[in-house]
């Protein structure tokens, strides 16, 4: 017994010692670094004012694209600062990382994150800088600004262009079978039937990367809003439910209609597989965010082979597009290099940098920078197919920009319905329960 106690005590002392030394060394490390960096930046003020500054940023692979890298390289050339990316693995994994880092005060200098309800969910005032007084804010259009404004504070700046949750399709299949772009859901299903009869895969489904399965549901919001203009507010207040608004339930049952039209590996396919499948015509339709367009085009033989249309509803005369505001840049309020980030973002929204970005990478949709026109090199899917909806005013911001509440298990449910494991009506009711949890967490009183 005595031996046991002694060994326990020894182990305790050892652990204690480890803990103490661990703290000590990390403290001194943290203290020394900024001092060195600060003195470094003072010495070289001149032509490249931010030489020697390294900005750490956090973003997903879609944001750390060739366009962003080109603009960052140009900024290094011009302003001197270096960039170091930390990759966001995406999905709930990524949510978790950012939330944890924010709670523990360990944010990178700046980062890319969603606008709209997912920004609300973060409670951004505790980690992100309010950039209302920065000049660049004047350049952003109002729809974008409203998606990054919380309690009068503006937190974000658009990382890219707007995008839509829509159907991306392979045009040669349509030409081959003489199909028309469907303006109602029934026409769409009829097209799928014809494609299936012709031995093609009508719809691509990515059960291996669940976030992407939500796009049919989320992109159908235009059709809900068209018939229920007050849905967003009623839903936020807890009076409108997916299970008891017919058009809203329909967003879920649409998955049922497609169960027989999906790819063979629907349960395991990933978004990368989807980029390839649509780009090469392996499948014809894909309900996906148009942020995938540039990546799909990398696989396409001819950029004009790829087209976009909005998720069809029941009214052929009102076929619209559900629009997402871009992901945004956010600045950590604890960053030691706020000046450098400000200078970088000022550069980011010059015409030169934007042309470089969209010219290198392509665009997901029309830009939300006032008065800026996308370069000619951007694909026709964006400049013709999507622009048409914008010109006709047939666009509607996605629900996540109009209500802070979004069910967090949404992607599991859309996957389950899409794979035919539960009915749309069941999922609608389940989703209402899921939203209730978000509402409670955000302090709404739903009964």
């Amino acid at each position: 017994m005595r031996k046991k106690i002694v060994s326990l005590a020894l182990a305790g002392v050892l652990t204690m010692g480890l803990v103490l030394t661990g703290c000590g060394s990390s403290d001194s490390g943290d203290g020394a670094a900024p001092a060195a960096e600060a003195s470094g930046s003072e010495e070289t003020s001149g032509e490249k004012p931010y030489e020697g500054v390294t900005l750490k940023w956090w973003g997903g692979n879609a944001e750390n694209n060739a366009g962003t890298q080109a603009v960052m390289a140009a900024a290094t050339e011009k302003l001197g600062m270096e960039f170091e990316v930390e990759v966001n693995p995406g999905g709930s994994e990524g949510d978790n990382i950012l939330k944890t880092r924010m709670a523990s005060g360990d944010l990178p200098d700046f980062m890319v994150w969603n606008s709209g309800s997912k920004l609300h969910e973060l409670n951004p005032s505790r980690g992100f800088l309010d950039i209302s007084d920065w000049d660049i804010v004047q350049k952003f259009d109002d729809a974008f600004l409203s998606s990054v404004t919380i309690d009068g504070a503006i937190y974000g700046a658009p990382q890219s262009s707007t995008q839509a949750g829509a159907v991306i399709y392979y045009k040669p299949d349509y030409e081959e079978l003489g199909l028309e772009i469907p303006h109602t859901w029934d026409d769409f299903v009829a097209n799928c039937q014809k494609l299936a009869d012709a031995g093609k895969t009508p719809v691509y489904f990515t059960g291996g990367e669940t976030w992407a399965t939500q796009v049919l549901f989320l992109g159908d919001y235009y059709n809900i809003a068209a018939t229920n203009p007050t849905f967003a507010d009623d839903y936020t207040n807890g009076t409108a439910k997916y299970a008891n608004v017919a058009e809203a339930t329909r967003s879920w049952t649409k998955y049922e209609d497609l169960v027989d039209f999906l790819n063979a590996d629907k349960s395991a396919a990933t978004v990368t597989d989807g980029n390839f499948a649509i780009g090469t015509g392996e499948a014809t339709h894909w309900f996906i965010l148009t942020q995938q367009l540039p990546l799909i085009l990398e696989n396409a033989e001819n950029p004009d082979d790829i087209g976009v249309f909005g998720v069809p509803g029941d009214n052929a005369d009102d076929h619209g597009l559900t629009v997402w505001e871009p992901m945004s840049w956010y600045v950590s309020k604890d960053s030691e290099h706020i000046d450098a980030i400000k200078a970088f973002l000022e550069f980011y929204y010059t015409e030169e940098a934007m042309d470089l970005y969209f010219g290198t990478y392509g665009a997901n949709g029309p830009s939300c920078i006032k008065g800026y026109e996308l370069p000619e090199s951007v694909c026709s899917a964006v400049r013709v197919d999507m622009q048409k909806y914008f010109d006709e005013g047939k666009t509607c911001p996605a629900l996540e920009y109009q209500s802070p509440i979004k069910g967090t298990a949404c992607e599991q449910m859309t996957t389950a319905v899409g794979l035919g494991q539960m009915s749309g009506a069941e999922a609608a009711a389940m989703y209402d329960d899921d939203c209730k949890k978000s509402a409670v967490q955000l302090g709404y009183d739903w009964e």
Binding site: A103, N123, K266, Q412, T415, Q421, K437
Partner: protein, 290 residues
């Protein structure tokens, strides 16, 4: 009197550091998690809400089904490991030539990280391109969507877990079998016992202590398993392989900190409720044998 008291206090000082660490890093979190499980918590403010989190946890289908999946997973992996490992261990303690090599081969899966195993198996189980389905189709069968079909997904993960975790059980069994006194077998042989009789009446009862450790270890491991499931299906398709730990993780990732803490408390209770009586029962059995 006084000196006696001092003497009894004296060793306490040695325990104190570890007691402090235990208190700060184990006891305090458990107590505070009990409190936070009763609140709506966002790290800054915690609003007391009584037992609502627990009600929500059990009323929602996706969460209560996770309890069932957890139990299936824990008992499934545990039983398979206990049974399969026993026969492998018997085989590996018999007189075979390549014993050393086979023993390392059996132990090998355990050296690979859980994540790597999960990813490798999920690629092998891919419905169209996976190795398993390519083989099945080459042999004229129809492709099985191992991880995409809710009826087979959990079983596929259980099979992977058994493949990976079997070796530890085998090692424990081997140690147990080798420590059995050879004279029992000699005596049995002289009495004319068959191999099967020796196995049933000597090996099986005397290996009980090792067997008990295996049951407890693999059951607790199964109850709180997370990494393999997360790597292979992420709880999907839909909710069909969600276990307690993955649901808790998702609630946490979604920012429902109070709710996920309640889930952790439920898991703690579930593990205790199963593990303690089981251990008690197994100890009884062990004593009875001896």
């Amino acid at each position: 009197m006084k000196t006696k008291k001092e003497q009894s206090l004296y060793p306490i000082w040695f325990v104190l550091p570890s007691l402090l660490i235990f208190g700060i890093f184990f006891l305090w979190p458990i107590i505070s998690s009990l409190y936070y499980s009763l609140t709506v918590w966002n790290f800054e403010t915690a609003k007391f809400c009584g037992l609502d989190n627990y009600k929500l946890f059990f009323s929602e289908h996706s969460m209560s089904s996770s309890v069932v999946h957890t139990l299936i997973y824990a008992f499934g992996t545990s039983i398979l490991k206990v049974v399969l490992a026993f026969f492998i261990a018997i085989f590996l303690t018999s007189k075979i030539r390549t014993k050393g090599f086979i023993r390392s081969a059996v132990f090998f899966p355990n050296l690979v990280s859980m994540m790597a195993v999960g990813l490798a198996f999920s690629y092998m189980m891919h419905p169209t391109k996976g190795l398993l389905n390519v083989v099945i189709q080459a042999l004229g069968g129809t492709a099985v969507d191992f991880l995409g079909n809710p009826n087979t997904a959990l079983a596929s993960i259980i099979a992977t877990d058994v493949w990976k975790g079997l070796s530890i059980s085998v090692v424990i069994y081997i140690a147990g079998i080798q420590s059995i006194d050879k004279t029992y077998y000699e005596a049995a042989s002289i009495d004319g016992a068959t191999g099967w009789q020796k196995l049933k009446h000597i090996t099986l009862p005397l290996v009980a202590p090792s067997q008990n450790s295996i049951i407890i270890l693999s059951l607790i491991g199964g109850l709180r398993s997370f990494d393999l499931i997360w790597a292979m299906t992420g709880g999907g398709p839909g909710f069909s392989t969600d276990v307690l730990a993955s649901v808790i993780y998702k609630q946490y990732a979604a920012g429902f900190y109070g709710l996920s803490t309640a889930g952790n408390v439920v898991m703690l209770i579930l593990i205790s409720v199963i593990a303690f009586p089981l251990q008690h029962f197994l100890n009884k059995r062990e004593e009875a044998i001896q």
